[in-house]
Symmetry: C2
Subunit: 339 residues, 2 copies
Amino acid sequence: MLDNLMGIEKQNKNIKATLRDVARVAGVSSTTVSRVLNDKPNVSDAIKDKVQSAIENLGYSPSPTARALNTGRTYTVGALVPTLDNAIFARFLDALEKRLTFHNLNLVISTTDEDPKTEVQNAIDLLNMGAEALIVSGEIRHPDFDQLISRNRIPVIITSYFTSNSPYPSIGYNNAQISKIALNHLFDRGHNSIAVIHGPTKHNDRTRERLKGIQEDKRFSSITYHEADISIGSGCAAARLIIRQKGRPSAIFCLSDVLALGVMFELSRKSISIPDEIAIMGFDNLSWSAHTNPPLSTIELSVASMGIKVADELNQRLNKNKPIQSQALEGQLIIRHST
Amino acid sequence: MLDNLMGIEKQNKNIKATLRDVARVAGVSSTTVSRVLNDKPNVSDAIKDKVQSAIENLGYSPSPTARALNTGRTYTVGALVPTLDNAIFARFLDALEKRLTFHNLNLVISTTDEDPKTEVQNAIDLLNMGAEALIVSGEIRHPDFDQLISRNRIPVIITSYFTSNSPYPSIGYNNAQISKIALNHLFDRGHNSIAVIHGPTKHNDRTRERLKGIQEDKRFSSITYHEADISIGSGCAAARLIIRQKGRPSAIFCLSDVLALGVMFELSRKSISIPDEIAIMGFDNLSWSAHTNPPLSTIELSVASMGIKVADELNQRLNKNKPIQSQALEGQLIIRHST
DNA sequence: CTGAAAGCGCTTACAG
DNA sequence: CTGAAAGCGCTTACAG
């Protein structure tokens, strides 16, 4: 009765009940309460009931941090991505999160704005909150990052970018290879002089690799390069420049569908017909790309399946202690009517 | 010397050093090490140096979970959102995450697919991993959710939706009010018969409220309603239906810019001119909406500033123990050339 | 300026 | 089937 009062008193004082409180009220040991809580065998039904109702009465819920300290697990994975405000990363993270949840893992997201220093800083925060593994984008790292990882001995996995030159496993694309697929298509369609519009290369090895793939192709008589922020407006602006240049190219290869959409808007405004006067090739296969006028030829990067693969490997590593397997993912050419 | 060996031994065995190891190697007490670790005053420089180098030698980094158990803080906030794969939520979360990081708070994201049961389940996971507060979208909750919250006594904040009828504070929009702004604009432009294309209403009170606002407006001679998934393709399909209906409306109000884009693509294919034959009004002001042909009239919901406000209130609540203030956010009419 | 001791709220051998 | 005790790795009064 006195014990019971203790429980109620705590409740009134707005202090959370502990496992010990439950044990007292139920008249059993902490060990037994713990067993009930974790569905362990060897508890009689009678005692189980007593414990359950004590839990009910006290409105008890176990402390996650105490549990984590004992089990050594937080079931948390940290992802360092450049931004959330981008359809491709959002789609990747959406799939990743769902699959991690399926594996009983939580996802903490941290954005880096493609800045290695911010990435290290946020990595520290993620580790300080108990992340059991880290997901990063691309291969470029701040030196402090590697030191942080070796100190904390935590699994790291590179995404969006496939490489075998990194100390960390990677699940992603061979970006150079993939832009060659697009180039082959343009070449087959008879294009000889093309313009390339790409996003910022600073700290962005995915974009650099795509460009490298293009530069290695020597079949074209002329290729001009135009860097632009990944936005519709910048795509429009780049298009304006390109159609004014002498020796106007017969095709524009945009290293992002967002850029391609801007180009299409701009050409439509100038009444330049696609693909007759200028062909347009995108990269990403965003959801609207099939519906533009004309529908956009592009490259599908199955980032959703990348998310699933990453989650599955993390599950293997964290929950079954198997090493992470690197995986090179394929890009797929999607031919529609803009080329 | 023996102590020193212990440290190195652990390192070789790949076991993480603990604070006690550092204390042993440095020849000081745990208390002192803790003081150094947390930049507390009253430690002589000589000892500070000894401790620092012991930390270096052992590659020590403190256990986040042990810290959390002692301080009672995890510095983690959980967000339950319908999906990440949607420009509006992604933009909101991007701003939210950056601002939370600024306040030294981590963001765990969990997607619910607009399903209250999934939401409860994921809320449990978030609490089990130590979330100190929860962010939810809209007012609709599963009953178990409220029970979970009262049990765990954790702050909850409703976003995207402003309400004063909830037990939880809210920072969001009065969606009914905002669709009236759009309607006023269409009415002023002389439209009398309009079609409304909206997303699924199931479990989605934001959409329902927007529709309620429209239904309360009695000035129009005819309003037809068309439910569609939030996708370009569905926007196209809805547009096909609408232009075929007898008594074709003079304006289409899309409760999402994504839908509006689909409609515009479809009308462009059918050579129906915007806004002369049919005016189009959107909702969201996505990044490309200023660049469509013609540029899309729409409503700006400043979800980025919503993210900042939510983070700021959470900071006040969690770090300064002040109650969360509900806030009604304004939508802003953006008139371009599609109306 | 420094340390011994208790404690945060659980889990887990171990013993019966 | 049940419990006493130790321990996870820190922090925090308290005492000196």
